[in-house]
């Protein structure tokens, strides 16, 4: 749709601008303030320059948390995206069963994050959980509170359980928008199942798949509540991801300076990725409209 140029439209956007400025820019300025100052309470500040940044950039703790975070996000994407596409391809196309599957699949998405944590905390326990109990009965030594590997597996399976449906739902919506004529043409050409997928379905899903990958990347990159409830970042620090580390530093130990410097770097990374996402997406929109 071609839009008209109208600078008065700013008045319509103004409420959003004021509100988001109050809830985003003001807090961010506080963070910036802390990042460059040192404080001993009572609102007395001492200029610290870039000391906090230097401290954080060279700290092993941050490097380890960042490493764990990247590993986590990569594993999550590698499992959830192919699995989500696979599920979407197998979903019923219409009728009662399609609605039935949609509703059931969306269910995990709408459970409060901490309840997701609680569910898996209970489910995985050796004494009272079905999963833990079954594994123990099969003679597998599984204990997510003591063993780092088990803790990782639990957190990853939990995330797959929680979010694969999102990828599947988006892909399903993308698949639904493909006209039947495409499939009929493929049939006439005697295309194999694989080439139908590769040359019809995958290109048509490109837009939604991009959104799915980026939403999953972002949300897994700032995951906090679920692993916090299940493992509390432990055993040791083995499942302490960036957000958990940050919350520990800021609200647990009140190391405001380093925490603020950390926040700013964290936020810049997010900003960069969002920008790439936005550029690619608007370009896709433009291509489609041509």
């Amino acid at each position: 749709m071609d839009k008209t140029l109208n600078n008065k439209a700013w008045f319509l956007v103004l409420p959003v601008l004021v509100l988001v400025a109050f809830s985003a820019i003001l807090p961010l300025m506080t963070v910036v303030n802390y990042a460059f100052n040192d404080t001993f309470g009572q609102n007395e500040f001492f200029w610290a320059g870039i000391d906090w940044f230097e401290e954080m950039v060279t700290s092993d703790r941050l490097h380890e948390a960042l490493g764990r975070q990247i590993l986590f996000s990569v594993i999550i994407l590698a499992i959830e995206v192919p699995l989500g596409i696979f599920i979407a391809l197998n979903m019923p196309k219409k009728g009662f069963w399609a609605s039935f599957c949609l509703v059931l699949m969306a269910l995990p998405l709408l459970i409060p994050f901490n309840v997701v944590g609680t569910i898996w905390q209970i489910f995985g326990r050796v004494d009272i959980g079905l999963l833990g109990h079954t594994l123990a009965a099969m003679g597998i030594d599984y204990n997510y509170t003591n063993d780092p590997i088990d803790a990782w597996i639990t957190v990853i399976v939990m995330d797959v359980w929680h979010w694969t449906s999102l990828v599947a739902l988006l892909c399903y919506a993308g698949l639904q928008s493909i006209p039947q004529a495409y499939y009929q043409a493929a049939k006439i050409d005697q295309a194999t199942r694989w080439s139908v997928f590769r040359y019809i379905e995958l290109p048509k899903m490109k837009g939604v798949l991009l959104i799915a990958v980026l939403l999953r990347f972002m949300d897994s990159f700032m995951i906090y509540t679920e692993p916090f409830v299940v493992t509390g970042g432990g055993p040791g620090n083995s499942t302490t991801f960036l957000s958990i580390d940050l919350a520990k530093m800021a609200t647990g130990q009140f190391d405001l300076g380093p925490a603020a410097a950390f926040s700013i770097m964290y936020f810049l990374v997010i900003l960069l990725i969002s920008w790439v996402f936005y550029t690619v997406m608007t370009n896709l929109d433009r291509e489609e409209n041509r």
Binding site: K8, L12, V16, A24, S99, P112, I128, H133, M218, Y224
Partner: protein, 267 residues
Amino acid sequence: MRIRSSAIVMTVYLLFLLIPIYWLINMSLKTNTEITSTFSVWPQTFTLQNYVTILTDPSWYMGYVNSLIYVTMNVVISLTVALPAAYAFSRYNFMGDKHLFFWLLTNRMAPPAVFALPFFQLYSSVGLFDTHIAIALAHCLFNVPLAVWILEGFMRGVPKEIDETAYIDGYSFPKFFIRIFMPLIASGIGVAAFFCFMFSWVELLLSRTLATVNAKSIAATMTRTVSASGMDWGVLAAAGVLTIVPGALVIYFVRNYIAKGFALGRV
């Protein structure tokens, strides 16, 4: 043959999704002694005592009330400011519109952990700490951008000729917007409201940071009980089941729009 194999895939996947939820419901219907002493796939001594505990103890059920209050406030605020903005984005070009739209997106992507501490200080300093409106405003951080994006997606589908016809017929902008335009995108408003509701309902970090007593959310109530009494699994499971109920109820009405909502209105 193909139909059968896909049915198997879906069955396995749905079982994978539902078994943990079933286990939670199962636990919520058992007594604590049964949970810790015997292991059973269904409740041996069926009890509703856990639910009774939650629905009669103010420290539990006030959690739900508080959550519902701030979630409702948040949905109302988000939609009120997002509707005109989404209209502006979908209909007009104006100075800096692309940058503004991008900036809104970054707020949806911002990690709440970054904002937790500044929010705490900001709202303490203006005397809003531990009030419902504080949490509602804080959740606007990610819900307003989301609402703008979803509504913009729906509004793009409404032909511009409708606006023009209405203006020629002498409708003023507010009258046109409320009487003609809003009914046209009613489903979009419903979906946006649903997503604001959901994301505000599932959020824990900010609501826990911004409230201690008066506006304490159900999510915060649950985490604190875990650390305090430790082993009251039955009540914890029952509380969990009760938090799933509202989502499960509304999801049925928006089932065909879920994907569109999650895709920020661009499917």
